[in-house]
Subunit: 208 residues, 2 copies
């Protein structure tokens, strides 16, 4: 027998298949991880799997912005120092974490939980767009508030941004999107021509 396709144990096969179902983990890495876990003390492995089960079973989402939270409302939505009239709309939990890490934003968020993608079978009703529209409607004067569409620059992101725009434009709320242009420190020579072209058209007043 050769192990080209099969593993020496059904238990190992099951574990490798489970681990290789993770994104970006091939069968070789999965085998390496399975054999690593096999060498660990039993309680470490149980702690590892319990942490994952616990996350999946007991995670809660903020009732306002749909961010992961341990309480009914997340710490950002509960923070009186944040600007609650400024809602940054993002695709995922990770985007909130990325923006928070910049330290440049002091408003609140709205996590869509995905992006409109006909190929992946994700439509507007699968996302938390209705909840966003509800939040916008709840402003006593929407013209004092702002929605920042912080979505990816690809087709899905643009589609989702446009869909949301159509849903909330009647409210008269200020709708903005992230600045697009050359990255800081980027070299003109290596910039893609679409980005370079747009950053010429959308040039800014020079502030020395």
């Amino acid at each position: 027998m050769a192990y080209k396709e099969n593993y020496p144990s059904a238990l190992l096969t099951e574990a490798v298949e489970a681990i290789s179902s993770l994104p970006g983990v091939g069968r070789r890495s999965a085998l390496r991880l399975a054999l690593h876990l096999l060498k660990q003390p039993s309680e470490n492995v149980h702690h590892f799997t319990a942490a994952i089960n616990d996350l999946r079973d007991n995670v809660r989402y903020c009732k306002c912005c749909q961010m992961i939270s341990d309480q009914d409302y997340c710490s950002i939505c509960q923070d009186p120092k944040r600007n609650h009239a400024q809602i940054c709309v993002v695709e995922s939990v990770r985007d909130v974490m990325s923006i928070e890490a910049t330290g440049q934003y002091h408003g609140v968020y709205h996590v869509l939980g995905g992006i409109i993608s006909p190929i992946a079978g994700v439509g507007p009703s699968d996302l938390h767009i209705r909840e966003l529209a509800g939040r916008v409607k709840a402003f006593p004067d929407a013209s004092e508030a702002e929605v920042i569409l912080a979505l990816s620059g690809d087709v899905e992101g643009e589609t989702t941004a446009f869909y949301i725009y159509r849903q909330i434009e009647e409210s008269g709320i200020r709708i903005t999107s992230l600045a697009r242009g050359l990255g800081f420190g980027d070299d003109l020579e290596y910039a893609d021509s679409l980005t370079l072209g747009r950053s010429i058209l959308n040039r800014q007043t020079f502030k020395p």
Copy 2:
């Protein structure tokens, strides 16, 4: 608050810490995997963790060669077509799988379960060397049999090979090690000088 260090939920923090304890998985990848698992149906996640627990709790090792097995003896040790007078000594389960994948070996194995490494605190008694000596002693005529030391070419591998050699040389068994030299398809120009030097000294008769 910023998420530079903290995650928005204690459950997420726990899961990310557990996942990033895996070798080669940083905190960024761990977060990505945790958020991926969070999106999966609950039963998929439970299946994932159960497969890992099951492997750790119920794995068995061959009573002869210490290979992972679902039975008391592994399929290789049980195979009457294999040459049971030829024992290939390897560090790990993965090495057995690598050699089996070549399809070039028809003897049996002995898995040490590690390598002698004073730095990692692994001594001879932590490995299955006594069991190997027992197998060698059990041959009615050891001079008819062979032990192939298929260990890494680094210091730990050489040390382990030498230790095993000293343990079994008295038996008179034939002791061999893997051929070392240029890899097939290797370019002379890019070979390291140690390997190149050795492959000149250990040159083989040309067989066209």
